[in-house]
């Protein structure tokens, strides 16, 4: 890779061993993908829950954090994805003291590196949305696909080690979606049905993600009526990224790079039609039981508007099975102030913050609490949790709240 003088100095260790190690990692990844150079980035977003890190990852971070002060701090705004717990609710989740201790050690290490513990996967709603053509190094696939597609920013999926490396060097390898030519559509999707509910938007994203199939595919989507809301595109993108590892989509006439189809697509692009029946089929395929052990709203974290809707559905209800709603530390104080938290909790629900359900030792939670049959309105969550031993089921927010009351989920 071509390096400028500052990068050569970093690689030579003149900025200390931490940036040097970070740049070595970036060069290894960049050369794997044929990057010619590095591109300056303005923000990094770092996924590093302790279930993923494990003891080995936390020790690795502590090793960086033990470096001489002045040689270990991030150079650009570097923020975190959800943590592995909400310390105030750890008992509810059946999490052990060992899990919490590991979490505390990771936080100390991150803070020593200058990372801001925002603990959110909806930073584009709560911290600062990137702007068009802004090069960033974002982790959490839902954050990347929203930032690339809806904001027009430029990011690859940056896993924790690479996002941290970008924070430490202020750069990332220039390949993939940092390049204009990789952002052109590779397949055309014609949608015959515009969803309204979040679960339908998520299911549509899942269907398209499965069709698109891999990271390098860029679907351009036609047929969406009206202007979708941020929460709808949040679920749509997060699910597409989860089902298909997709990092960028275009909505013709809606997203910034696709004012018209020809802006992003060749005329002979293969086309596929997606119908309401496809969306319903995906949701039915997860409905494996009528009984429900737990109801979870998470993945992505809920916005203030979602919590407002949820609070409205909880009024006058009494839950017989546990119900968890997970939001960001930025939204939670407002939800408290507006009374949404109190209304959800009055029905027997729980509002958690700073974590996400699948990033919080989901397998151990299932074993500790006996939760298997899980109802959610998040298509992303149902796609993930099967491997953790759950039988996840996808339904509307309304149907999930009804299930929290009755313990039974109506067939979609």
């Amino acid at each position: 890779m071509n390096l400028d003088d500052e990068e050569k100095d970093i690689l030579a260790g003149k900025a200390g061993p931490v940036p040097q190690q970070a740049l070595r990692h970036q060069i290894k990844v960049g050369e794997f993908f044929g990057a010619e150079d590095l591109v300056p980035v303005t923000q990094a977003h770092l996924m590093a829950d302790t279930e993923s890190l494990g003891e080995a990852g936390v020790r690795w971070l502590e090793g960086l954090a033990a470096t001489t002060a002045g040689q270990r701090r991030v150079r650009i705004s570097t923020i975190t994805d959800p943590r592995g717990t909400d310390f105030a609710k750890a008992d509810l989740l059946g999490q052990t003291s060992a899990m919490l201790d590991l979490e505390r050690r990771a936080i100390v290490a991150f803070e020593a590196l200058g990372v801001a513990m925002t603990n959110t996967c909806i930073n584009y709603q709560t911290i600062q949305a990137p702007t068009r053509n802004e090069h960033v190094a974002f982790g959490d696939t839902g954050v990347v696909i929203y930032s690339n597609s809806v904001c027009g920013a430029r990011s690859n999926f940056e896993g924790g080690p690479s996002a941290l490396a970008a924070g430490l060097t202020g750069r990332t390898p220039r390949y993939g979606f940092h390049l204009a030519e990789k952002r052109r559509a590779t397949l055309r999707i014609q949608v015959a049905f515009t969803p309204t509910s979040l679960n339908d938007w998520g299911a549509l994203g899942g269907v398209i993600g499965r069709i698109a199939g891999n990271y390098w595919s860029v679907p351009v989507i036609e047929g969406i009526e009206g202007a979708p809301k941020s929460d709808q595109l949040k679920h749509f993108g997060a699910s597409m990224a989860s089902f298909g590892s997709i990092a960028l989509f275009h909505l013709v006439g809606l997203t910034p790079e696709a004012g018209q189809l020809s802006d992003v697509a060749a005329t002979d692009l293969p086309s596929q039609r997606v119908t309401k029946a496809d969306i319903e089929q995906l949701q039915r395929s997860y409905h494996s039981d009528e009984g429900v052990d737990v109801v979870v709203f998470s993945a992505p974290q809920l916005s203030l508007y979602e919590l407002s809707d949820l609070a409205g559905l909880c009024d006058g209800r009494r839950f017989t099975v546990p119900m968890l709603a997970v939001t960001s530390p930025q939204v939670k104080p407002d939800a408290d102030r507006m009374g949404y938290t109190a209304r959800i909790e009055a029905a027997g629900g729980n509002v958690l913050s700073g974590m996400c359900f699948y990033q919080s030792y989901a397998r151990e939670i299932s074993e500790a609490r006996g939760w298997k049959r899980l109802a959610t309105n998040s298509a992303k969550l149902v796609n993930i949790l099967g491997g953790y031993g759950y039988r996840p089921m996808l339904a509307s927010m309304e149907a999930c709240v009804d299930a929290a009351v009755s313990g039974r989920l109506a067939r979609p």
Binding site: F33, G34, S52, G54, A56, D140, N214, Y215, S242, Y388
Partner: protein, 136 residues
């Protein structure tokens, strides 16, 4: 035999040799694995129930989220890890995870590598040469 050597466009890591575990399916450490016991745990995965420990995984593409970037490192620290990853295509996360975890990787072939490598075959992955060879 030339048809037993397959060249990759992307390569990383050091030479390893072992049994191939092959499927026309995707891969995510978080979504698909019971990382404690070293087996594929996602019920719908074509390798569900099978151990990946010490195997050279030959699969289609990377799926899912960003966690694999940390998880390969954590799996390697416990020795419950595939010997190498050989994919038709990978996403950045898998490459970043292989870089941190020092797991050998090949990606990008002219043929469908999951159809070319027999399941259970003894194979050698040589990232310096960018090839996987069926040796037995």
């Amino acid at each position: 035999m030339s048809n037993r050597i397959f060249r990759a466009r992307h390569a990383m890591g050091s030479t390893v040799r072992g049994p191939a575990l092959v499927a026309d399916d995707g891969f995510s450490a978080r979504y698909d694995l019971d990382r404690i016991n070293g087996v594929f745990s996602r019920p719908s995965h074509k390798l569900a129930g099978q151990s990946y420990v010490g195997k050279i995984l030959v699969l289609d593409t990377a799926k899912g989220g960003v966690a694999t970037a940390w998880m390969l490192h954590e799996m390697k620290s416990r020795g419950i890890v595939p010997l190498a990853l050989v994919f038709n295509s990978v996403n950045p996360i898998l490459a970043q995870g292989a870089a941190l975890g020092d797991v050998s990787m090949l990606a990008g072939f002219d043929e469908d590598i999951t159809a070319a490598i027999p399941n259970g075959a003894e194979v050698e992955v040589n990232p310096q040469m960018g090839v996987i060879t069926v040796v037995g």
